[in-house]
């Protein structure tokens, strides 16, 4: 089987996993099942990153999204339900209006994606002469865009403090 065809099959298969898991996440009554489909969709997205030769970002996606955020969501699901029967409580709201608006947006975005003439002159075959993508990304976040990097670390610090303050229990005996 020629290589390009095999790569195309794998790419479309991964894309199908991502989109199918997203659909099943939305239309599921059980919150725990939605969280599992969410994790599957995130792992599929990491696969798409690997297929586009963005290896560092793929590993970061697996660690941060499919590792930390999914665990956070599962902890929140388990901390906020009193019994297993409560997991199946939810209904949908305003399906037709949302569907119409989202359908218009989807068709507009697909039209833009497929009819714009993209200037792909910068696309060269992938080589590993420069040692992969970690060194340029490292240079980018530590030399070129270091201000954004420091501000992002401030945002993380603020989120950490905020999460601790929000979930703190008041000690007993306070007025």
């Amino acid at each position: 089987m020629p290589e390009a065809l095999l790569k195309d099959i794998v790419s479309w298969g991964t894309a199908l996993v991502v989109l199918g898991a997203a659909v099943r996440m939305i239309f599921n009554k059980n919150v725990m099942h939605s969280a599992v489909y969410f994790a599957v969709s995130l792992v599929g997205t990491a696969g798409l990153f690997f297929l586009m030769y963005a290896e560092f970002l793929g590993i970061a996606q697996l660690l941060v999204y499919a590792g930390a955020i999914v665990v956070l969501v599962l902890i929140a699901v388990m901390a906020s339900t009193k019994s297993y029967a409560e997991l199946e409580l939810t209904r949908l709201t305003q399906t037709w209006g949302s569907a119409a608006g989202v359908f218009v947006l989807t068709s507009f975005m697909l039209y833009l994606s497929y009819t714009t003439v993209w200037d792909t002159t910068g696309l060269k075959p992938y080589t590993t002469e420069h040692g992969g993508d970690i060194a340029p990304i490292g240079k980018g976040i530590l030399i070129d865009y270091v201000l954004a990097f420091e501000l992002a670390s401030f945002v993380l610090l603020g989120a950490l403090i905020g999460a601790i303050v929000l979930t703190r229990r008041e000690p007993e005996g306070n007025p």
Binding site: S11, V18, F38, A54, Q61, W118, L123, I141, L166
Partner: protein
């Protein structure tokens, strides 16, 4: 698989996340749909970085920053959810009706 297909995948994933955030009433599923939207933007950025200029990695750096912000936003959102659950005891956006508990 060309640039248009990756952009189409990102667009459809974004619109699915948007639909999920509009339609569901469970707060956790709304948060997960917002994370899906940020994920779709990451796919688009990495596709642009790969197909338009192979030697420049700004798209991937931008996607890395989006990942950082999405992680902190998920943490704060779930902390708000826990505080809300302690106040009203139910995780549905319809039930958070009163301004002062």
């Amino acid at each position: 698989m060309t640039l248009e297909h990756y952009l189409a995948i990102g667009s459809v994933l974004f619109c699915l996340g948007l639909y999920g955030a509009l339609v569901r009433k469970n707060f956790i599923v709304i948060l997960m749909s917002i994370e899906l939207m940020l994920n779709a933007v990451n796919i688009n950025l990495v596709a642009f970085s790969r197909f338009l200029n192979n030697a420049a990695y700004e798209g991937q750096i931008f996607a890395l920053f989006i990942m950082i912000i999405a992680a902190s936003e998920a943490a704060v959102g779930l902390a708000i959810l826990l505080a809300l659950f302690r106040n009203i005891g139910i995780i549905e956006t319809d039930s958070a009706r009163s301004m002062k508990g």
